[in-house]
Symmetry: C5
Subunit: 91 residues, 5 copies
């Protein structure tokens, strides 16, 4: 899963109706902490009540469907808020 | 989901028939706003009536199937048009 | 979907039998036009009769299964031949 | 699968309940050994009792579902601990 | 699919049992020939009897499930051995 920061939010009135009930956040993967292709911002729905500035765990791809009960047109979803990240093997 | 801009469109007469009923747009992921590997252009179908120049939210991968009722041979689909992107945690 | 060019083909006698009936092409994603991780060559099956040199639309990932009726061990498939790509928002 | 090192762990009290029973590790894909886009850290659940510093094999994407019996909101899971990696074709 | 070379193998006694019956190879995507994010090594199971040094076709993601009959915790599998790669459109 991506480790990133909630950098902001998106306003999109015209969108698939199934996205209505979800907040759309802008995620900035942590420089050191992303397994996504290009660590620029990307959009994710929120499933745990995250807020702007939170360090979060973002589930990506079709596994998102395991975190929601309805069919959601989303490929990135916040599934955890990180309190601490202990890195012991810094290069 | 990718945050990008509709940069243009594709003309492809020879294609899988199931793609016929969809507009094929060329998406340019925003420099800062893409979770795709290499933010060059890529092709996506449109599901919300986007137009050239719009800033859009693009669903990728097999979750595209959650945004359409029929089986579609597409791995990227526009699912929202962005009116505003508020970034509060600029590095 | 990837926008790329058919750069050549692959000869592979030893392969999964389900790949037998498909041509195996080498795709070079367009410099500006790829949403794959690393726009080097990659292999794809052909579903629309493409030829070497054609600019093509390549479906990737498990959505490939929506473009074929049988179970195919492929994660990239040509689903369209591009006649024109109109880019209106060149940076 | 990714070849990487368990670099540390994550503390996240607020998370999807289905993640409760899994340890959340921070994985650093090996410089030379990752097929992830940007080999920064990423988060993975552990399925084989790995520990900090172990070199591990990490399954990514929806295939994670084949390694667990319940529906898990995770897209990366440790499925093996590497004792030796014999590379014979160094460039 | 990735075009790469079998660069070596992995020894991992502690691993998911379903991986037992498969050889675990280290794949080096060809510099020019990978559509994976970061063409470092990655791990794949072998389905066609490949050997070290072979140039191979590697299926990635959940489509791997189409190449095996049982549920396998793998996201990369060798599905072909390349005899020749004819590139006609070198840039």
């Amino acid at each position: 899963m991506v480790i990133g920061r909630v950098a902001g939010n998106l306003l999109a009135t015209i969108k698939k109706p199934e996205l209505e009930k979800y907040k759309l956040f802008v995620i900035e993967p942590e420089k050191a902490g992303t397994h996504l292709k290009n660590p620029g911002y990307f959009a994710a729905i929120d499933l745990v009540g995250a807020g702007i500035g939170d360090r979060v765990i973002v589930l990506t791809g079709s596994q998102v469907q395991n975190a929601v009960s309805d069919k959601v047109p989303a490929d990135a979803a916040i599934v955890g808020i990180v309190e601490a990240m202990n890195i012991k093997n810094k290069k």
